[in-house]
Each structure stands twice: as structure tokens, then as C-alpha cells.
Symmetry: C2
Subunit: 170 residues, 2 copies
């Protein structure tokens, strides 16, 4: 799993994050796939009606000196949101995310507002809530905080995929 | 400059891309900084009224198998857009981007619509146009294509920064 030992969330046991239960097919995502050795390994955990992830940027995830690259923030919000969307679908079906069949969502649209510069020497906390769940579509709202201050806000429209007929390029 | 030899755009001479002329202070961005050895090295070139960048995803930039990670697409759109915004400001001041003082913009908001799955075995072409330029604010629209088909559309609101009083965290 590469250098994930410096993530707070990877210190929690395997199986507690929704991404731990993505199928092998869906587990290679650069942002959150447990099977992608070069990836970011975003892991999202339920806390009441929210999903929470923590991420410690690498020193090279720079924007301007001392600040976190906005594309990394977009990536974290992306995977945290699709994870939250999957969790919401499991919940709507009355089951835990360790049950079959596994649920996986992909991103239809992503919006990020950069509220203030994000310090790179911080643990980033992402908290997400479900705004809407309608059929295969889930809208997720996310707040990213560092040192207790909100630095970015995200809104993602996620769509459930069917692994027997997954999206292909073309 | 890391493994940038597999980017089409890095085969063009240094000095032709707007990012080649970012200041040393602003040149460490993970997405487009020439001084970030671990970064993506997005480079944006003027073509008429458009800015163009090409990027070849690495094999590990996976979403689902065979498809490009959406967070990478957001990152490419982010840096291509802030580069386009800087270029627009240079143009509005009647000068080329090899002139002083260097211009650098940062992202206030980022929106990406994922139009269709993006193949990972493709050269990605990003084309950006300036939608609005008003003072320090520039709105940039971007289309990302692979194998001739549009796969994503982006809209970024970028803000010019003053390097003598750059944004800081807090």
C-alpha cells in the first residue's frame, strides 16, 4: 500500500472504511483504491450521519510554498464524495458496506470552492453529508478543514455503476 | 524534472509555455511547477485565442480499469486554467509572458463535468478559452478531449496574486 503509513486514517483497521470493501475491479482508483500502490489511499469512515476522512499531504503536494495544491484538494473531495455516495446507497438498502454486492459510484460533476489557503503542514479533515439520494444519483456536500478552519467546500454529483456493465471509454 | 519525457508538451522548447515563466516562488506547484520534481508539469501553449496543453496519464492514474482518474482530470484543468488566466492578463497588458513582472493566478473555484469516461491509453488534449477578464479575476472554460472526443469540461475562476503579498494559510 505504498507510503500510506503517514495517513491518520490508515491507522484504523482494515474493513472500517467504505473503500476497503470496493470490489477488486473497483479497487484500483488512484485516489482511493486499496490496490493502487502509487495512489493516495483516501479512506472514509462513518460518524453518525457524516462520513469523515483524514489526509496528510506529502511535502511535494505544494501549490505556492506552504500551501496545498488545489488539484489534490479536488482529488480528496472526489474520492471522499464517491465513498460517501456508496455508503448512502448501502444505508438506503438497510445494509452495512461489508455486505454484498459491493456498491461503487463514479463522479458526474465536481465543484470546489477554495475558501482560504490550505496549509500543507496540517492534517486535512474532510466531512461529508448526503444532500440528495435519488435512484442511482447521490449528491454529496463536503467541507475540508485544516487546523480547525474551513479551507474548501465541495459538491459532487455521483452515479452508481453496475459492475456487470461498467463504464468504458469510447 | 522527473519523468516528464513522456509528455508531448515537454518536447517543446523551454520558454514556450506560460508556466516556464512563473517566478521561482510560484514554480513549485505540484500540477505545473517546473521546479517540482514530483509534479505533473502541465505546460500550456498559446494557439490563437486558445491555450492548449497535452498530457499523457501514467498507468497508475487509474479510476476504473482503463479509465483516467477524475481527480487527475480536475488537476489538469486546474493548472491549465490558471495558466490561461495568467496568459490572458499578460495579453491585456500588451506583453508576452516572457516579460516582467511575472503573472501568477490561483484558483478560487473549480467545476468539472465528466462528459464520458476518459481512456487512459490516450494523449489528453486540453483547450481553454477566456470567458471573462475583470481586474484580478479571470474565468476560464476548458474542454478535455481524448481520441478526438470530448471527455470533460471545466470552468475555473482564477484570481491574480501579487507576489509581494502572496496568500498565506491561516
Amino acid at each position: 500500500m505504498g507510503d500510506t503509513h503517514d495517513h491518520d486514517t490508515t491507522q484504523r483497521p482494515f474493513g472500517e472504511a467504505v473503500q476497503d470493501h470496493y470490489s477488486e475491479f473497483a479497487g484500483h482508483c488512484y485516489g482511493c483504491g486499496r490496490l493502487n500502490e502509487d495512489g493516495l489511499h483516501v479512506r472514509s469512515f462513518p460518524e453518525g450521519d457524516e462520513m469523515v476522512a483524514h489526509f496528510r499531504p506529502r511535502p511535494y503536494h505544494t501549490a505556492l510554498p506552504g500551501l496545498v495544491y488545489g488539484g489534490l484538494i479536488a482529488s480528496l473531495i472526489d474520492c471522499q464524495s464517491t465513498g460517501t455516495a456508496a455508503w448512502a446507497i448501502y444505508r438506503s438498502e438497510g445494509r452495512h458496506f461489508d455486505s454484498d454486492p459491493p456498491v461503487r459510484c463514479v463522479t458526474a460533476s465536481l465543484h470546489v470552492d477554495y475558501v482560504r489557503p490550505t496549509p500543507i503542514d496540517a492534517d486535512l479533515e474532510l466531512r461529508s453529508t448526503v444532500v440528495e439520494l435519488k435512484g442511482k444519483k447521490v449528491v454529496v456536500s463536503t467541507s475540508l478543514r485544516a487546523h480547525g478552519k474551513e479551507c474548501a467546500r465541495g459538491q459532487v454529483v455521483a452515479i452508481r455503476i453496475l459492475e456487470e456493465s461498467p463504464p468504458v471509454a469510447g
